[in-house]
């Protein structure tokens, strides 16, 4: 019988991204795939950094959503009836997507650095998700490694002067 490990879900991907992230007692489990799961384990003791970089997907998405909203608005107002409810529904859907895009603070690429690799985490594809993940990861990593201070980092970078 295999040993049982308890995991806590941290991120579940979304959209077309088939990646889930779980935290165990001493490691982070990255699960990729839909019908066959592939597991990668990153131990909190080995995690060196979280790296994040904004990308332009959210801007492109917002531009498209605004264009669709404009079309919906034109459809709404050009109706011979008092109000075109079909166009209104589309307008509200596109508006909710647009508001969600702003609420998520834009899209980004996120990765975790270990001594051997940079593990990209496509499930953390917006800044809000990435920030939540980082807060949880920092707590788990600092429990194992302690906290890195500016003084220690600068001494390691420049030597003691």
């Amino acid at each position: 019988m295999a040993e049982e490990y308890r995991y806590k879900k941290v991120s579940s991907g979304g959209g077309f991204v088939r990646q889930k992230i779980f935290f165990g007692e001493d490691h982070m489990l990255v699960i990729d795939g839909q019908y066959t799961e592939t597991y990668r384990r990153l131990y909190f003791d080995d995690i060196q950094a979280v790296v994040r970089c904004g990308n332009g997907y959210s801007i492109v998405l917002r531009v498209f959503l605004i264009i669709f909203m404009m079309f919906s608005a034109i459809g709404m107002l050009s109706s011979t009836d008092f109000f075109n409810w079909g166009a209104l529904i589309f307008f509200v859907i596109f508006l909710s997507f647009l508001l969600n895009s702003f609420w998520c603070k834009g899209s980004c690429d996120t990765a975790v650095k270990t001594p051997l690799q940079l593990v990209r985490l496509p499930s953390l594809n917006n800044v809000r998700k990435a920030e939540k993940f980082e807060a949880k990861l920092t707590e788990a990593v600092e429990n194992k490694q302690g906290r890195l201070t500016s003084e220690v980092l600068q001494e390691a970078l420049y030597g003691s002067q």
Binding site: A2, E3, E4, Y5, R6, Y7, K9, K20, F22, L29, I31, Q34, Y35, T36, E37, T38, Y39, R40, R41, D45, D46, I47, Q48, A49, V50, V51, R52, C53, G54, N55, D109, T110, A111, K113, P115, L118, R120, E134, T138, V141, E142, Q145, G146, R147, L148, T149, S150, V152, L153, Q154, E155, A156, L157, Y158, G159, Q161
Partner: protein, 283 residues
């Protein structure tokens, strides 16, 4: 022209243009090192100061070197400005947007809008203490004395540990830590093969997801309903076959998917049977 340069918060110089070139080629001064000469209003990085240099040799005194001479907010967009010399100066962080480009470590553990000059786009970095840890290297001592035991897997090396699983003497090359015990890599490999620990598994097939997809997708797509003649019995078979062992994922899951897939596929099987019987009786 005489140059001054900064090491940490300390001002060094003056040095000549030739000395500066020599120190740059020796790596003592980098492109990011803060420098000053008499034609500059303030300290700036060598990359920014160099194009403005001329042959004028009027010597003046440099302005006082502040702890943060570029005037940036601490931790925001600050790239290493001082000439580096510590053990961590060689550590690089790969960028996410530009393949092959790397950034040096920032001055602070949390750096916002960092590294645009290295990777075109600013990055956010959060560093943890492991970034400063030296890479571990393991060396095994060769058997020198007659009384020493040798490693089971490497007879030429002296044994330094005992494997907690197999009890064999092993050298430092073979030893690793697993669940708080010292084990040999071979024992770890055996444990993975025998699936003793799900912590060692790297792939699993999710039969509950497969059964659910087989039960739901063909009738849902309408034009593929005829595929249910195959997929519905297959889904039902998987549900019955795997029900006792439960979901296969490493993380905890309920049997909910098996239940839904089982009910749907059973309904489809009975529906299809009824359909076939009705057709055959009408013929």
């Amino acid at each position: 022209m005489e140059w001054y340069y900064a090491v940490g918060t300390e001002q060094r110089g003056p040095i000549t243009e030739g000395d500066l070139d020599r120190m740059v080629s020796a790596g003592e001064i980098t492109e990011q090192t803060l420098v000053w000469h008499d034609q500059l209003d303030n300290w700036m990085r060598l990359t920014e100061a160099r194009p403005m240099a001329s042959v004028n040799t009027v010597v003046g005194a440099p302005p006082p070197l502040r702890s943060n001479p570029l005037g940036n907010r601490v931790g925001v967009g600050v790239e290493p400005a001082r000439s580096s010399g510590g053990q961590a100066s060689a550590i690089r962080i790969p960028s996410l947007n530009l393949k092959g480009s790397e950034m040096p470590l920032p001055d602070h553990p949390i750096a916002k809008d960092y590294g645009a000059s290295y990777a075109l786009k600013p990055h956010y970095l959060h560093l943890y203490p492991a970034i400063l840890r030296r890479k571990e290297t393991v060396e095994a001592k060769e058997v020198m004395e007659a009384g020493e035991s040798s490693c089971f897997y490497h007879p030429q090396f002296a044994a330094t540990q005992v494997c907690s699983h197999s009890g064999r003497f092993i050298c430092d090359l073979c030893a690793t830590e697993w669940n708080g015990q010292i084990v040999s890599l071979q024992a770890l490999h055996d444990a993975k093969a025998s699936k003793k620990s799900n912590k060692l598994e790297d792939k699993r097939v999710l039969w509950d997801d497969i059964a659910l997809a087989l039960a739901v997708l063909p009738p849902l797509l309408i034009i593929t309903w005829w595929m249910a003649f195959v997929t519905a019995p297959a889904a039902l078979f998987i549900c019955l076959w795997k029900w006792r062992s439960g979901p296969t994922s490493v993380v905890r899951r309920s049997r909910f998917r098996y239940l839904i897939a089982g009910i749907l596929s059973a309904l489809q099987v009975f529906g299809l049977l009824y359909f076939v019987i009705a057709i055959s009786s009408s013929i």
